[in-house]
Symmetry: C2
Subunit: 368 residues, 2 copies
């Protein structure tokens, strides 16, 4: 039995966990850069909770709220300059995957001089600012991973910086910040998390432990399928989704993602399809492909979802995602040629070739 | 849903994982103190593997091999003096729970001046030497916990030092070091680990995540029951036991132990009953007590063990442990009065009173 496990982030989950754990912030430093997007952290109460808590323990702060969806390299260099100029001692990232992924790169670039064309090169030391993370969607799992996924315009896709030094120091999980999420975002992020857990089990790096965590994740997310479908999501379901997405983050921190993510990135980059939606649209087709080689593995996942077939799963996804984007055959061929080069493809224990990838795109968008 | 999770130790499991990960040691320092017992690390090959690996990467070392079962406060101060006198930069602990628990206290006392009568006082800073741990039994889980459990002669029991700074930096899990373990030690340690997972689920601090890890642990340990009973334990079973005991360690790192451990400590302190055996002898009686208030919880555990009743579990324990020690009624009353004061008692979600504790002792040793 071979197995590696490393996830040093302290996870604190519960209602009002930020205000109830103010001393966690004093351990990180005396001045923070708050990295977030333009609106949601202000709307859902998370930014207020952070600011009140920082003021209570007399921690100074600066706000950088210019992170947009699918953050760019330019954005994280800008954030890092603000961190340096203001001599901040730690980073607080609030938001979905974009602010959290940007927060990690900013924590890194605030301490290390890395040129823009070397940022994906992997040569990273342990000098990184401490980080406190507050996820406000239940999908990315970035609050418990070592990945910072940025838009890489040179490669026309997303590329990740990965380093054991990029795990957040502490993450605060409070589902109340998700109460105001739209049903579309709730579904997209939930299925992104589901995709992490499922792809983790298909990864060549899956272990007994990551599989056990993935099953716990899948069970929790799937227990919310009915509420997602009915478009009424209770707080209890939001907690399960947040718990499930955190677990799925722990899974991919060890296994990485597989073909679905490689294929989804082009949909996001070229057609602006939301990341979670992109994964959800492709997942059924990939499961069908993997099932031919590993029927028992897929059965285990389906059982955890309380479903009996991949077809049933596909019907559920169709219901959740509604009308699909129009993608031409030419576009699909282009995305296939990009996806086949991604390292996540080789990370699949059942590896699709170009024909299979094109086939999954075609099936997913009704061209076959 | 409330939940805390923190386990920063890097776990590396697999055959020859020490020699295959020599660079992990260079991250810890240039000179090590190897903390171990008198014999087993020399017999089972683990000390040799460590020494070869250290020599390969040119790390100097000193050996302190004077840790005995149930290490004392005196022992850890002696080890810490050797660490200081030799200016070691990190600790390597090899062995069962005793060398690992001693290793943590030595890593602490090598850096911090704490008086002997204050060592259990909990006032610990983050100055602790880095630690690499090599468990050579599959029971304690100390390789993934923040506890250093020492014999406390003043309190006539075992007492733990607990600090988030006492998690080992890295732990190497190689089941080959367990091939030479006697069947008695194999059973005692396996049932100690089982007791950790089971008590973790009964703890007031149990969460969805610790329960999921506990179930994975119980399933793995229970899958070896037949081999333990037949006294022929394969390498595959040893890997499952090692995996299961590590998982159970992660559980108690979050939940602590409950009444069984409180009650077992007196058996070890006064009658020299092995720690795991003591837990195993008491566990059935405690499960029977908890079942009255929480039948579903006990059912979940039994199902994970592939058993149908607590009685069946008790029969299995009787088979594994054979003839029991003779304990007088007077002794049991004394142990009860010690156990009832232990903080682990209040940690049980179903809390036994003095009568219940005495009753469990009596049932466990055939006096009722």
């Amino acid at each position: 039995m071979n197995l590696n496990f490393y996830m040093p982030t302290k996870v604190i989950m519960g209602e009002d966990c930020i205000s109830q754990n103010e001393m966690e912030f004093t351990k990180l430093g005396r001045k923070a850069l708050i990295v977030t997007g333009a609106h949601s952290a202000k709307m859902n109460g998370s930014l207020d909770d952070i600011i009140k808590t920082l003021e209570l323990v007399k921690i100074d702060y600066v706000i950088y709220d210019k992170v947009r969806s699918n953050p760019t390299v330019t954005c994280v260099y800008e954030g890092a300059k603000i961190a340096r100029d203001n001599n901040v001692e730690f980073i607080i990232a609030i938001g979905g995957g974009s602010p959290m992924d940007a927060g990690k790169a900013i924590a890194l670039l605030a301490c290390q001089d890395i040129k823009e064309d070397e940022i994906f090169g992997g040569n990273i030391s342990d000098k990184v600012l401490p980080m406190a993370f507050v996820p406000t969607t239940a999908g990315t799992g970035s609050e418990v991973t070592q990945y910072s996924i940025l838009t890489n315009d040179k490669a026309e896709t997303k590329t990740s910086i990965s380093s054991p030094y990029l795990f957040p120091t502490v993450s605060f999980l409070d589902a109340k910040y998700m109460d105001s999420l739209s049903i579309t975002t709730t579904i997209n992020t939930a299925i992104d998390a589901l995709s992490h857990a499922v792809e983790g089990m298909i990864s060549v790096r899956a272990t007994a432990l990551t599989n056990a965590i993935a099953i716990e994740s899948i069970q929790n997310i799937a227990s919310c399928f009915e509420e997602l479908r009915s478009e009424k999501v209770s707080r209890v379901a939001r907690e399960k989704l947040l718990y499930g997405s955190m677990l799925a983050g722990i899974v991919i921190a060890h296994t990485g993602t597989t073909a679905v993510h490689s294929m989804g990135y082009s949909l996001t980059y070229f057609k602006d399809v939301d990341h979670g939606r992109a994964n959800g649209l492709l997942l059924g087709g990939f499961l069908e492909f993997v099932q031919k080689a590993k029927p028992e593995l897929i059965d285990t996942m389906l059982k955890a979802m309380n479903l009996t077939s991949v077809e049933e799963f596909q019907i559920l996804m169709n219901q959740l995602f509604g009308d699909k984007e129009e993608i031409t055959m030419e576009e699909m061929k282009k995305y296939t040629s990009i996806a086949i080069k991604a390292k996540n493809i080789k990370n699949s224990s059942v590896e699709p070739d170009e024909n299979v990838i094109l086939d999954i795109y075609k099936k997913s968008f009704g061209l076959s």
